[in-house]
Structure formats: C-alpha cells, structure tokens
C-alpha cells in the first residue's frame, strides 16, 4: 500500500487577489445567479453520463457578503497576489526543505462545479522538491502551492446550487506529498507534523474547516482519494478500512474472472413483476409513474453481498450521488418487501442461472436508464479490480463514493496577473526570519518547566508564543500550560494571568475562568466576580464565632470542618493556602482566648 497526503490550509491574511477580509460571514447583502459553460473533456471518463446529467442546465446562486467585492463576483480582474500570503507560503516551503521557483506564474485551474465564480481556481506553484522526516523515514513533498479558496456551498436544490462568496479567495497553501507512506500511523504523523509547521507561522486561520486533508491510497490498482479526512485520530482507521476495501475488490475481481463473469447490455423493464409488490419503495415509485428496470449480472452471485464481499454497496454508491435510492441486487433479495415469487419472475425474465445475479432500480424511466448505465460501467470495472475514485470519510471509519477521480488538471495561465520574480536575496531574507521548527519549540517550552506532553500539545495548537509571553511576564508555567491545554484557542489568556498576578483572584479559580471564557463569557466580567475586597478576616471571624462550641469541644481538630465551611462561603475566590493560615490563626486565638478567660 502506498499513501500520499494533500493538505490545504487557509491563511490569516487579506484575500489572495483582493483586499477583502478572510473570514466567514453570515451578513448576506445580495445575490446573483450565474451559469458556467463546461468545455469539452473536462470530465473523467467513468461516469461522464452522470456528470453531464447533473451539470446540464445547472444554475449557481452566489450570496454576496460584506467581505466580498467585485473580484469575488468575477466582475473585476484580480488584483496582484497578496504579498503577505506569498511570504507565508515561501516560509512554509522553506520549513519543508523545498526549493522556491525563480518566477511564480499564476495559473487558472478549470473547476466547473460552480465553487469558483470564474469557473477556475487560481493557483501558483511556489516550492518544489521538499521533504519531511518522520519516525518511519523520509517523505517527499514535491509541490507546495498557493491558491485561492473556493466559495462556500450553502445548499444544493435540484438544478440550483447556492454558494456564499465569504470564503472565496481566502489564501490557501496546498502541500502535496509523494505516495511515500506505508500505513495509517505514518500518514497521521506526517499530517500532524505538517500541521505544526503551518501553525508555527502563526499566520494560519484556525477553527473548523480551515485545514483540510486528503489522503491518497493505492494498493497497486486504482488510486483512491479520501477527501476531507480532517480528524487526525481517525486517519489510521480510514486508511486501514480503505486497504481492506481495496483488497476485497481485488478478490472479487479474481472470482469474477474465474467465473468468466459478464455484464449484459440489455435493460429490462420489470415493472409488471411488481404489480402487487409489498416493497414500499418500489410501490411508491410505480405509483408516481416510475419504472422498475433491471440488468443481468452473469457470474456475480455472492459477491454483491455475503460475509466478506460487498460489491452491491459499491454499485449503490455510484448511483446514490445522482439521487437513486431504490437500488436492489440479487444477493439481498428476497427482502425489503420483495417476495420470493417476484425474485423468481426476475430470474425467469433475465434467464439467470446459478452463478448469476441482477440489479434492479425503481426510478423515473430516463433516470433509471442512466443509472443502470452507470451501474453497468461500475460492474464492468469490478471485473478488473479497484477503480480510481474520490471518497468521503465517515465517522465510523468507512468511506463512501463521491465521484470519479478528476481528470488531469486543465490549467492555463492567468493572464490578468504578471508573473512574480523571486530573487535569492528575498528568499534569504525570509530564511533568516523563519520561525523555529516545532521540535525546537517543544524543547524551549520544556525548559520553561512544563511536561513534554503539555509542551507538545501547546506547540501543536500553535499556542507556544502565547504561553512563552505569559510565563515570561507572570510565571506560573504549569498553571498556564494547564489552562491552555484544557482551554480553547481564541481567548485572551494573557488578560487572565495578568489579573491573577495582580491578585484579583486565586489560582484555584483559573479552571473555572477559562471554562467560562471559552463558553463566550466576558473575561473581565468573570474576573470582577471574584471580588477580593471580601474581607477574609470577617468571614473567618463570623464562622469561628458561630462554631465556637465546636472549637471548644474539639480544639485544633475543628480546623478541617471549619475550613470546608469557609471555602464554601468563598467559592474559590481566595487562595486556599492563605485561608488555611488565617483560619488556623483564628482557631488558635479562640482556643487560647477561652482557656485564658
């Protein structure tokens, strides 16, 4: 097995080709509707029919937000490439040991799903021939690109797809590795390391969807791309499941070859068979004018669904994307309300023998025919093995079919933006100011007095500078580390520790403050709630007086229950050590006072 990674990271600068803010926005202030004209052969071969079907007459609605201008609307030529974004991309490329090209040429990559108003995505190759070392060995990084983010898909409604322009144009760094990784753990390590390097620039966007990973997996046949595999911990599972799926497809291909399997071209209309069916899905489809169409799959019996084989799921997957839900195959019928008698009739009409099987689809006639054509194509490929395709990761570790692999990129130059010459002096200047590598930062933090694990977490989250600054100013390394590792990334930790330093609350309250701040409460308000003007002495005095009897009875042993009462009253607002000192003092006073009188 060979695995490769492609990582996309949004940058926290202005947009790549205009001066709009890189953020998401719910402030929609208008909309336009557009059509894109695909030019020929921009689609893969496998289910051209399906793609054409779905692309034909599609309209795209673009929601205009406060952070989009005429550039995002494709109503004004792009401005020059954002220099800050370019510098970050060069930094990342250098940290990945890549060489920077001498002149950057911005390209247009054709994209016709509507996610770019122009019909293409602008992208530029910045660095080449990089690598990263892992505990499994070296992984090559042949290309590092800087490109524009696509518009955000809001909804898809038949022939209308709605996108929002807030995300379009946010700078993205694209890092592609060679297929050098051999297992899921290695993929995970590489993804994590590259992620840490990206965050070391301190100029990347944070939060859901701001970094995306695609994993390429090949076991010697078709290449499968798992798109949007963003959860690091799930990576080994996704990779393992995909390896199993590919092995299964290879085994199925062997069986089909041995049996001399055959996919027949004829599509049969089987609607009459289901005249009185108990299958709700089929009955419903027939009632609204649909047909039940079927094909014969000679030699496919048992590979569609049994203990180890699941080819039926693959066949259902390729038509699910064009909205077909009522696909059934021979290995699962009778079932789902389809009777044995009905299956017998199908066997007869299709002239099926022992090893043979079939697929039926209940759908409007034309759609059903298109779908069965796609199923036939997919079934034919299954006699060869693993098809190349794009799949979506699921939370249970499996993946599901999305679309065929895109064909080779169709790229041509962006003539509206002149090429950018990158001089050696400029690269040298950036090289001199590179951030430290994550490993060095982890050592720095350990040296400041925290555990290796905390240091790793803090660096991984890109919070090392925040940590360092606070600890250098106010101390408390372990407390700061705990706050940051338990907390969220976008609260003002410095403000909290400044207040702690100024004695506005006791360090016991940190967990509570961080938690509440992460839930969106105002930090200053939380802190002001910890009112240190409370007279500690007064509270202790009050409790000691109330419990005088107890003190007299139990002497110094009364400390423990009284301490509980005082701390309950203070609710963590005062340092426990201080409370215990004062309380002991008061109890002693009481004991001594009583014995004197």
């Amino acid at each position: 097995m060979k695995c490769g990674l492609e990582i996309h990271q949004q940058l926290n600068t202005k947009k790549l080709f205009c001066n709009c803010d890189s953020k998401l926005s719910d402030n929609v202030i208008g909309e336009v509707t557009r059509i894109l004209r695909p030019t020929q052969s921009e689609m893969g071969e496998i289910d051209k029919a399906a793609l054409q079907e779905s692309i034909k007459n599609r309209k795209f609605k673009y929601e205009i937000t406060d952070n989009s201008c005429l550039v995002e609307l494709d109503e004004e030529p792009p401005h020059e490439l954002n220099r800050e974004a370019l510098e970050i991309a060069i930094k990342v490329a250098l940290m990945l040991n890549a060489k920077i090209v001498d002149e950057i040429h911005i390209m247009r990559k054709i994209v016709i799903d509507g996610s770019n108003t122009s019909g293409f995505q602008r992208t530029a190759l910045i660095g080449v021939n990089g690598y990263i070392d892992t505990s499994f060995g070296r992984v090559n990084i042949p290309t590092i690109c800087l490109e524009e983010e696509a518009a955000r898909k809001i909804k898809e409604d038949g022939k209308l797809v709605v996108y929002r322009l807030d995300r379009l144009g946010i700078p993205l760094i694209e890092i592609s590795t060679s297929p050098d990784m051999k297992n899921g753990d290695e993929v995970k390590e590489v993804a994590e390391k590259i992620g840490m390097i990206l965050r070391a620039t301190k100029k990347v966007r944070r939060g859901a969807g701001t970094i995306r990973q695609d994993i390429n997996i090949s076991t010697g046949q078709g290449r499968v791309e798992i798109k949007g595999a963003s959860k690091l911990n799930m990576i080994p599972k996704w990779v393992a499941e995909e390896e199993n799926r590919q092995e299964m497809l290879k085994n199925i291909a062997e069986i089909l070859k041995r049996r001399g399997a055959k996919v027949e071209d004829t599509i049969y209309d089987l609607t009459d068979v289901f005249f009185n069916t108990n299958s709700k899905i089929i009955a419903k489809e027939i009632k609204r004018g649909g047909r039940v169409l079927g094909i014969a799959l000679r030699g496919f019996n048992g590979v569609l669904k049994n203990k180890e084989f699941r080819l039926g799921k693959e066949l259902a997957g390729v038509v699910k994307v064009i909205g077909i839900k009522g696909l059934f195959h021979g290995d699962e019928l009778p079932g789902y309300g389809v009777s044995e008698e009905e299956v017998e009739k199908i066997n007869k009409i299709l002239k099926l023998e022992n090893d043979d099987s079939f697929v039926i689809i209940a759908a409007p006639e034309n759609k059903g025919k298109t779908a069965l054509d796609i199923v036939k194509e997919r079934a034919k490929i299954s006699m060869k093995g693993v098809p190349g395709e794009t799949r979506a990761p699921k939370d249970d570790g499996t993946t599901q079919y999305l679309r065929p692999l895109p064909g080779a990129n169709r790229m041509y130059p962006e003539t509206d933006i002149p090429p950018i010459r990158i001089t050696e002096e400029y690269i040298e200047k950036i090289r001199q100011n590179l951030p430290k590598m994550p490993e060095e930062r982890i050592d720095d933090l350990i040296n400041m007095g925290i555990s290796k694990q905390d240091a790793h977490t803090i660096v991984r989250e890109g919070m090392d500078d925040v940590f360092e600054k606070i600890v250098k100013k106010y101390g408390y390394p372990t407390i700061v580390a705990r706050a940051i590792t338990n907390g969220c990334e976008d609260i003002d930790y410095e403000l909290i520790f400044k207040a702690l330093h100024e004695g506005k609350f006791a360090k016991e309250a940190i967990d509570d403050i961080v938690l509440r701040a992460c839930n969106g409460e105002n930090i200053e308000k939380i802190i002001s709630g910890y009112d240190t003007s409370i007279d500690l002495n007064e509270i202790i005095e009050k409790i000691v007086n109330e419990k005088e009897a107890l003190i007299i009875k139990r002497g110094a042993a009364a400390f423990k229950p009284l301490m509980g009462l005082v701390m309950k009253e203070l609710r963590g607002k005062v340092d426990g050590k201080l409370v215990s000192e004062k309380l002991r003092e008061k109890i002693n006073e009481k004991i001594n006072g009583n014995s004197q009188s």
Partner: protein, 414 residues
C-alpha cells in the same frame, strides 16, 4: 539552446534541481535570463537555467477536430456573423494557454453548438483588432460588409471589442438610412476562454435578436450581473459605463429598446423602427471633427489649437453645457470661420440647457449648438457623418435634430 524551440519537451538544469516540461514562449516584457516551462502537473514556472536540454521535439501541429458540423437548413433563418476581433471572438488553446482569435464560423460555434440549431450561420472575419484600434475608415469598411451581408442573410451579428463598441454602433446607425435586416453588435466583458464568460449568452441572444424585425443598429449585452437576460440597446443611446462589469453597457437618458431572456423571449420597452424592404447606406465620414473634454484651467491655446484644423467639434462641457466664459470670444470667431461647434455634457446623464446660466447664454449666442441629451461620443460620430455627407447648412440643422433616436425630448425619473 540551439534548435530548441517553443513547444519542445525539455529538461532545464538549475541550481535548484532539474525540471522537465514544455518550453513556453517568453512574455514580451520578460527582463532576465528566465525560461518558462509547463511542468507535467500543469503548472508553469519560471527558472534560471544553467542548461536547457532537448528531450523531445514538439509534435507537428495536429489541428483539433472541430465537433461542429455546419449544415444548411431551409427552415431556419440565416444569420451573418462579421468578426471584428475583441474578447468575444477568441478562444483558448489549453495546451499552450494562448488565446486565439476566432477565424471561422466553426470557431464561433465550437463552444456554442446550440446556435446552429436556431440559425444557419455564415461568417466572415473582417478585422482582427482590439477595439481601441478601431477608426472611422474601419467603420466604413464594416458598413460596406454589412450591406453586402444584408443581401444574403436575415440578420447580422457583429462581435466587437467592448471599449469602442458604442462608437461603432453610432457610426453604423447614422450610415444606414434604411436597413432590411437587424444589425446587432455584441461583445463580452469576460473572455470566452473562461467557463464564466458572458460571451455565450450575449452571442446566443444577439443571434436571436438578429432574427427579429428590428430595422436598427442595436447592441446586445448582459442586463445585470446575473446570467438571466440581456438588454437590447439602441445603437445611438448606449454607452460603456463600467470598466469591467458584465452589465457595463447602459442606455443613457433612455430605456433600452427591450430585453431578451435566456429562453429567447423578448420584451420591448420602446417603439423601434421596423426593417425596410431595402438597405441604404451613406458611408462618408469627415474625420476632421474633434471631441473635446473641457476641464477647469484648460488653457485657451489648447482649446484653439485642437480646433484649429477641424471642421467641427463636440465639446463635453461642464454641467448644463459650459466652458470658461473666457472662451466665448474665441468660440465666436471659430463659428464665424465656418466651424460647427456642438455642446454636450460631461455629466453624461441629463440634457444640456444653455439658457439657465449667463455663460451658457453667451456661448449659445456665440454660435454653439445645444445638443440636448445626446451622448458626447454619439454627437462626435454624428457630426463626422453629417459633414461627410451633407453641406454645411444641412449638417448644422441636422446635428440638433433627432434622426436615429439619438435625442429625445422627455426624460424620466424612473
């Protein structure tokens, strides 16, 4: 680098490693020693080479097979497309990224085969020029080509660069006294090499407009930013009002003649002249006419210098139609010398009115002709045409009269 040429597959050896790809042409303004290659992954990069080695000569050009078949059908109208150049008439060669002009009807239809279901397309390429390079002699050539095409087709579509399309539209409007077919100018603001181009809808709509009975010169362009409809503008009323937007073309001081939806349905907003039995052309132009933008501080010598050798001039004055009152005597002298001077407004929107302020009154008294709500560029073309085809007195009278819908009496708030 001997015997290595653009398009060859080469190996570029540099300090940063060895790169393989197709050698691309160097841009005009490239400064230094950089070579540009297209890598296998599709990206272009510029590299400083230590050495460039030939790996494989480029394939001999195989012309891509065009999928469009042009068959004549007697059941549908015949539309002539007369190419002049510009964004709309170009297509991309994806292998090199070069943009080529459309040279044949097949080129036009290559990306828009649906059009051939609705009309038999004939085409000729008259020029291949950027529209900023157009000039009066080319308008005349174009007009003659239109006249010829009108004899053998039911409508004429002229793809044109957008920068000066409204000047050409005006020129054709005045030159044709009668038209037996619609003459439709069309452009695009986004080049046709991109999937989002407005070229397709604009061209498709213009072919449909060319099948109507409009006996005028019109411009068909996007009505808004959405791809939902186009406006049909009268050629003497339209102006490019934005540098880059799809809906850059506006009918100024007037509604468009109508709009055409994506399904071809046309809604008219105004009366239009119906097609005539025949086409009549008056194709002379007097090029000694100036279009002059007045600005505060303009030296009188400049004003006089520009007009010195001219037979006439259209001034884009301030506001309701003014230039510095210091120019009044100079103007008086020029008019006396037999120059025709017309006044329009740099406000573009609204009519000039030279009765309201004293400078206006003085200029009018000095002989300046008030041109109502006529667009400055239209007035400029009109005066050239009048001086080319009529005597001085006739030209003077006709300049201030509406002859092709270029002036109207009433303007509206909504």
């Amino acid at each position: 680098m001997d015997n290595i040429e653009e398009g060859d597959y080469v190996e570029v050896i540099t300090d940063k490693g060895t790169f393989k790809g197709v050698l691309l042409p160097k841009p005009k303004f490239s400064k230094d020693e950089i070579v540009i290659i297209k890598l296998e992954n599709g990206y272009n990069v510029g590299l400083i080479p230590k050495e460039v080695r030939l790996i494989k000569k480029k394939d001999k050009k195989i012309k891509a097979e065009k999928a469009v078949k042009l068959e004549y059908s007697p059941d549908i109208p015949t539309i002539s497309i007369i190419g002049t150049g510009g964004t709309i008439a170009s297509y991309i060669d994806y292998s090199t990224g070069a943009v080529h002009p459309a040279l044949t009807a097949e080129d036009f239809l290559f990306t828009m085969p649906e059009i051939s279901d609705e009309a038999n397309i004939q085409s000729e390429i008259l020029f291949n020029t950027l529209s900023e390079n157009m000039k009066p002699e080319m308008w005349i050539k174009l007009a003659r080509a239109v006249k010829k095409a009108a004899e053998k087709s039911d409508g004429i579509v002229i793809p044109h660069g957008t920068d000066t399309m409204s000047y050409t539209a005006s020129a054709l409007s005045f030159m044709f006294e009668k038209l037996s077919v619609p003459v439709v100018l069309v452009g695009s603001q986004r080049s046709s090499d991109r999937p989002s181009s407005d070229a397709y809808i604009n061209l498709h709509s213009s072919v449909r407009v060319a099948k109507t009975d409009i006996g005028e010169v019109v411009v068909v362009m996007h009505a808004g930013s959405s791809d939902d409809k186009c406006y049909i503008h009268r050629g003497t009323r339209v102006r490019k009002m934005h540098t880059s937007r799809r809906d850059a073309f506006h009918s100024v001081n007037s509604k468009p003649l109508g709009e055409i939806a994506l399904d071809g349905n046309i809604k008219f907003f105004k009366e239009y002249k119906k097609t005539d039995e025949s086409t009549e052309l008056r194709d002379k132009m007097d090029e000694r006419v100036a279009l002059l933008y007045y600005y505060p501080g303009m030296p009188i010598e400049i004003f006089e210098g520009v007009l010195e050798k001219m037979h006439g001039a259209i001034i884009m004055g301030t506001g309701l139609g003014h230039v510095s009152s210091e120019f009044v005597n100079s103007v008086k002298g020029m008019v006396k010398d037999g120059k025709i001077i017309g006044m329009t407004s740099q406000c573009i929107y609204g009519s000039v009115n030279m009765n309201v302020y004293s400078t206006g009154r003085e200029l009018k008294y000095a002989g300046v002709i008030e041109l109502g709500d006529m667009l400055p560029e239209v007035a400029y073309v009109k005066l050239m045409w009048l001086l080319g085809n009529y005597n001085f007195e006739e030209a003077k009278n006709m300049l201030k009269k509406n002859i092709r819908g270029e002036m109207e009496d009433r303007r509206f708030l909504l």
